[in-house]
């Protein structure tokens, strides 16, 4: 089966000379949820905008299910729904009309039934005859999603879909996204919430300063992320780890014991470890927990 998106050697230099993307190569598989992570200004939106035809690339090719996004832009674009990062709506237009408008732009005949089903899914059906300016910020964002889905795309781009959305709603949006995936829609999203990527993505790509620095299965990347460590400061220095503690993932640094948590067995191991400390008369004066955040991974990867 062909890839949903294939990006080869894409470079982007903005007109002011800023190099936004460097030699991007990336494949997005059909039917997966791909999360694109990276610090502010990394180039996430630039990449999405290039794929969707909003921004021109300088070199390279992008194909959407084997349709080149410039040479066969009509076929390519008709497969894509885009929710851009910034909310942009026609304030005075009615909710339902704006959805019909988008569907028409994508050359699809009007379908009241389908539009109704989308509006209901995104809890906007009661608002269908209201002007867009009367919606709340979160509703407007959902409306943008409804518009992107209005023409039944096979690939959905969500550029920070949950920015400014409350916790409950964010969770319901994840559910919606997962449902879409079950319908066979390929989803590419960007986010700054690692929890979000953790919950819903199949694969994660990290981009920094215009370069893709990592593309991995979520499970693999989470192992790295899961590297939480507990630092026990000891009352007395020890030179060597007592034998009974050797099976733990612990390293000794003078008066400090650094324990790397095995996320899977955390609940069993931790009480045992503390008991063993008592057995070996190790006196702990302070405990510090360090979480490996996405930030740490960035820093680690960017340093390389």
């Amino acid at each position: 089966m062909s890839e949903a998106i294939e990006i080869n050697n894409v470079n982007k230099v903005y007109s002011n000379g800023f190099v936004a993307l460097k030699e991007i190569n990336l494949k997005i598989h059909s039917g997966e949820i791909f999360a694109l992570l990276g610090p502010n200004g990394a180039g996430k939106s630039t990449l999405i905008n290039i794929i969707c035809g909003l921004t021109k690339k300088n070199t390279g090719d992008v194909s959407i299910f084997d349709f080149d996004n410039e040479k066969s832009y009509k076929q390519a674009r008709s497969l894509i729904g885009l929710v851009p990062q910034e909310i942009a709506t026609d304030s005075f237009e009615k909710v339902i009309n704006t959805i019909r408008f988008t569907r028409g732009l994508f050359n699809k005949p009007n379908s009241d039934k389908y539009i109704e089903s989308i509006l209901k899914k995104l809890s906007l059906w009661e608002k269908k005859d209201q002007q867009i300016r009367t919606l709340s910020g979160g509703m407007k964002r959902r409306l943008m999603i409804a518009k992107a889905l209005s023409h039944e795309p096979k690939i959905l781009f969500l550029d920070e879909p949950t920015a400014g959305v409350d916790v409950d709603l964010r969770k319901s949006m994840w559910e919606q996204i997962i449902k879409l995936k079950q319908l066979g829609v390929t989803i590419v999203l960007t986010t700054h919430y690692i929890e979000e990527a953790e919950k819903i993505a199949d694969r994660i790509g990290i981009i920094d300063k215009g370069k893709i620095i990592l593309v991995e299965d979520k499970r693999d990347i989470l192992k790295k992320l899961g590297n939480r460590k507990i630092i026990f400061s000891l009352a007395n220095e020890i030179n060597e780890l007592p034998k009974s503690l050797k099976h733990f993932d612990i390293s000794v640094d003078k008066n400090k014991l650094i324990y790397f948590i095995d996320k899977a067995n955390e609940e069993k191991e931790l009480p045992k470890l503390i008991k063993d400390f008592a057995h070996n008369s190790i006196e702990v004066s302070n405990i510090e927990i360090k979480e490996n955040t996405l930030e740490d991974i960035f820093i680690e990867l960017v340093k390389k």
């Binding site: 035809g53 909003l54 709506t89 304030s91 028409g104 732009l105």
Partner: protein, 254 residues
Amino acid sequence: MINFRGLMSIYKFEMSRTFRTITQSIASPVISTMLYFIVFGTAIGSRIEAIDGLDYGSFIVPGLIMLTILGQSVSNASFGIYFPKFTGTIYEVLSAPISPLEITCGYVAAAASKSIMVGTIILITSSFFIELKILHPFYMLLFLIIISVTFSLLGFIIGIWADGFEKLQLIPLLIITPLTFLGGSFYSIKMLPPFWQEISMFNPIVYLVSAFRWSFYENSDVSILSCVLAITSFLLVCVVVVILIFRYGYKIKN
């Protein structure tokens, strides 16, 4: 494959914007034309002698309609494309499977339709003030349509080029309004001293007004052939500029 539904979506969207703001988009040009008509046609006109055998009120009707549709076409079309750029909603059109040509047709057809509507309303209104006589209704309609389309194209170009509201107003204010006023809407070019008559020949709007007035009364400041030539070449220039703009993605895409 032509994305006809996309084109119609843009057209309908723009037309619904027109009807939503009906006072601003239809009533205001009609009112301002009626004021012109009352002041120049009825009040002052009664003291002006006939031009080419026409009383002054009848003489200015075609010019007034031109004045309005030129202004309306440019402002409708430029606003129509500038506004989505300004609010950011343009992303939708740019990411849709719709060609630049189809986009242009949608916006330009809507702007031109509105102009033609306004022009027709003014024509009907004026018939309450004067006895209307249209010798060549077919050509009248044809000129009305072509000129509306041409200036809507011009407006579209301005709307794409503009990156602020001032620029949107700049060309209409500095070029189109003066040229229209000096283009023989309110007087015959023949009434000018010879030097200014010659200068006027470089004003493209003279030809439009002349042609349009010809379709009403068969009298014209310049030959009808040169008018048709001028109108056609103006249309072609606008079409070529639009094509070039899209080829080089000027100012719409980063």
